[in-house]
Amino acid sequence: MQPVPYRVRRVRCETRDTFTLELKSFRGQGMVFHPGQFNMLYAFGAGEVPISVSGDPSRPESLVHTVRAVGAVTRALCAAKRGEVIGVRGPFGNPWPMAEAEGSDVVIVAGGLGLAPLRSAVYHILSNRGKYGNVVLIYGARTPEDLVFRPELERWRGRFDLEVDIIVDHASAGWFGNVGVVTTLIPRASFDPQETVALVCGPEIMMRFSVAELAKRGVPAEGVYISMERNMKCGIGLCGHCQFGPVFVCTDGPVFRYADVERLLKVREV
């Protein structure tokens, strides 16, 4: 129940308020995790927040998290410098269905910082590329300046076995890419709806509308997975805060099959 100290090895600035931290444990044993899981990250004296792992699961010796500064704890984490120590509890949560998706096409729809837990899934797919069919990454952000993981995105776009479609809500001069809402990229993406597993993560509204677009293309709710977020104090199903109807987002989620939570998502303030 206590955080384990990890040292900050590298900090990469993604956007003006989002940073990727690469952490190393003191004893060097690394953390084995599954894409979609999260850790409770502790800034000494400030508090803990749940943050998805955004790194490569095949490289457990390097624990990577992408954090956006929105409150006291995340601001403290984003201000961490190389050599500083951060506390880690985890990994917790129900991961993306990477094994179930083998043999299918995979459509990944990410909105904003929702790309962070999905990046781990992309790494996993690329390490096991032969096991998956067509793989499409659809990523929407507010503006070009809010795009995260730009080096990875550029590398991935260069691959012949991965389709990467990016869109922003607002653009300024110098942006030659798509402008509009991320759902508009779904009708055109190359995948077979009958043989597809969709992984969706982003603001709840964006996820709802993305799932609706996927459904229009014939992807059934059983084949769509989303990652949810709720207030968490413990991360282990004891404090009660993260309840969403009868499920605990920390232990039953954060990844859910859409068919299992579809009904609840339609009720306001559940």
Partner: protein, 159 residues
């Protein structure tokens, strides 16, 4: 703008497009009669704000940007449309003037349908008019929903 293609090739392009699904064959022929293949170079303007608009385009390849010129920011892209999208709604309703600048971002190939003759045909045959309006209303509805989602600024987190 470049070469006109044969009418039956245009007819095929229109018939294949989901926008015209379910449209009576004679109407497809009729539209093809008003149609032409039109290409735009990257950076070329399809039309400017205020221009009279007398056609709509089915984008076959490439991407166009809907832009507004803002005094201190220059041209701002509001939305891009790409392969398979329908461009141009202003031809439907008077005063038939473009609301935005539309600029081709990449080399863009389209099938253009000239509205001048089409409007007359719709007046004479309301059933054709209704079929087209239904389809454009659907496009408008989808655009509006997408635009509203853009306005929601869903990625912006409060602190």
């Amino acid at each position: 703008m470049s070469v006109l293609q044969k009418t039956d090739q245009i007819e095929q392009a229109l018939a294949r497009h989901p926008f015209f699904e379910g449209l009576d064959n004679r109407y497809v022929k009729l539209l093809a009669g008003c149609g032409a293949a039109v290409n735009f170079q990257a950076g070329q303007y399809v039309y400017r704000e205020g221009d009279e608009v007398n056609e709509f385009y089915i984008i076959r390849r490439g991407r166009v940007a809907l832009e507004i010129h803002v005094a201190d920011r220059g041209p701002v892209t509001i939305q891009t449309l790409g392969e398979g999208d329908v461009l141009g709604i202003s031809w439907l309703v008077a005063p038939y003037r473009a609301v935005f600048d539309v600029r081709a971002v990449d080399l863009t190939r389209t099938t253009a349908v000239y509205a001048g003759c089409l409007r007359e045909k719709c007046e004479k045959d309301p059933s054709l008019g209704y079929e087209l309006l239904k389809r454009f209303a659907s496009v408008l509805g989808q655009r509006l929903q997408a635009t509203r989602l853009q306005l929601l600024d869903v990625y912006c987190h409060g602190s």
